[in-house]
């Protein structure tokens, strides 16, 4: 009996993420969904600028690396050329909710048949822990050393709720990977987001609440707890659009 098998959709390249970072779990879930749907050989993945910039080394399929925030536009170009392929973007919160806000909005508005995996860790990981549009009010980062000040920079953006308003968005869900139960739910949502694309229904996105122990200044365990205690109350989980 086979208990565990490596997913084909991941390469053997060791992941470059910090210990305890949940980017790795999310990679695994995306890869499993692609393998289960049997579409690896017609999938094109778009890597972001952020800690997942090397995703083209990790996902074992055709990959493109996009400029910061532009993955949805690159995905649009690819999908329009190969409408039968499966195209996904994998983006952080700085990438998607800040510099790439226009690109993701309009890809969703066009009902672009792509799947977006949106990794929300409430911070800019790769550049060393600066404030993101998703940083919680009061959260200390290297560019909000006194805690995010609502007066100065407003409240964090809830991208899933915002994008769910757009008619072109067919499936939008927010999930978390802070414990096993939630990991399993996240897997289902990610799979659903790919199925939505394959069925040609429109734009699909899964926002995954993720940890950044390194820049949060927490242990991996503390980070998982912080997702539950601080992030989920502001970023409620669940399907925001679609079945």
């Amino acid at each position: 009996m086979r208990v565990f098998e490596k997913t084909k959709a991941l390469t053997d390249m060791p992941l470059t993420y910090c210990p305890g970072c949940t980017h790795g779990i999310i990679h695994r879930l995306v890869a499993e969904a692609i393998d289960e749907l049997g579409v690896r050989e017609k999938t094109i993945g778009i890597a972001p600028v952020g800690c997942a910039v090397f995703a083209y080394d990790f996902f074992n399929m055709d990959m493109m690396q996009a400029a910061h925030g532009r993955a949805p536009a690159v995905a649009t170009g690819a999908k329009r050329v190969h409408p039968d392929s499966v195209v996904f973007t994998y983006q952080g919160d700085g990438d998607l909710a800040s510099i790439g806000a226009a690109e993701i909005m309009h890809a969703a508005a066009r009902g672009e048949r792509i799947t977006t995996i949106f990794v929300n860790n409430a911070i800019y990981g790769m550049t060393g822990g600066q404030m993101a549009p998703t940083t919680l009010v009061g959260q200390v980062t290297t560019t909000s050393p006194y805690g995010r000040d609502e007066e100065l920079c407003g409240k964090p953006i809830r991208m899933s709720e915002m994008l769910a308003q757009l008619p072109g968005a067919a499936y939008i869900a927010r999930v978390s990977v802070h414990d096993v139960r939630h990991v399993l739910e996240a897997k289902k949502a990610i799979r659903k987001a790919f199925e939505t694309q394959i069925a040609g229904e429109g734009f699909a996105m899964v926002e995954v609440l993720s940890t950044c122990p390194t820049n949060w200044g927490m242990t991996p365990i503390e980070s998982l707890k912080w997702v539950e205690s601080d992030m989920i109350p502001y970023y409620p989980l669940g399907v925001k659009k679609g079945a």
């Binding site: 690896r40 017609k42 890597a47 083209y56 399929m61 055709d62 493109m64 400029a67 170009g77 309009h106």
Partner: protein, 370 residues
Amino acid sequence: MAKMLMKGNEAIAEAAVRAGCRYFFGYPITPQNQIPEYMSKRMPQVGGTFLQAESEVSAINMVYGAAGSGARVMTSSSGPGISLKQEGISYIVGAELPCVIVNIMRGGPGLGSIQPAQSDYYQATRGGGHGDYRIPVLAPSSVPEAVELTIKAFDIADEYRTPVIVLGDGMIGQMMEPVDLPDELTRQLPAKPWAAGGRGAKPDADGADEGRRAIINSLYIDPQVLENHNIKLQGKYSRIAAEQLLFGSEMVEDADIVIVAYGTVARIVRSAIRLARAEGIKAGMIRPITLWPFPEAPIADAAKTARVFLTVEMSAGQMVDDVRLALNGARPSHFYGRTGGMVPAVRDVLDQIRRLAGAGQSPAIKEVLV
């Protein structure tokens, strides 16, 4: 094939279609709007895709995605939009993707004007975005030439895996001339085995497909690997410089005064040198058709016989730097330019030529910038 009367912008768009371009991503900006408008009509007729992007930033990144997927793809814009595209262009260069970018230049800086200008010469010929690179730049001076060069642009792009810029000024975009459009390309477009996706499943039976997958990328985190990549790019630029130089030479052999001009300005200069010749002044013209690679050697050659050089541009003086580099001090280099959408008049250029002719051995005219 019967000649058709076409506006430059539309002729460029139709030429792209005939060159096999099936994807166009753009954003409205004057004076190039007829290109996206024409493409929005034409692409669906030929089974292609036209998409109006939410910005030029997005348009050029759609180009990146489509080019990375193996398509013949084009975008077009003008000054402010071309500035926004620079980030994407740099990535396209880094990832070695072929595409065609049309810039129908208008007056700048800032929002500037919508009138014709040649003020984006530096931006086009010096790379334009971040990083160490060059882009072949083709500058038509008539609508038929715009057709020819647009088709050529796609071929150069594919051959060298590079973006190619078609640099026209507002006049080229808006003027109507009879053109002879070639039939739709029948020849096979080059295979792109490096491109991503959708070309059928790749062999996977043995699990040994690693290395066969396409990776479209411009990130090389190891300095030595990046330097190697840059050396490769520079090698490509040397090949392009050796193989793709285009220029026109008119009445240069016996010329005393050689004028260097490109695009629409070259037409004005052509009229001026004819009038000068009628007055007994031996004037000639070198017309760069590729702005990069720049016709350095032809200018240096002309300097062996000509006495003085005059560069005329619709800018404050950009290409003149390349003329000076080519001359390397061998002959005096003068400049006459108009900016902001003002177009030099034939008589103004003729006046410049007369002054240089009258000035004998050491022409004393000042660089004139009105």
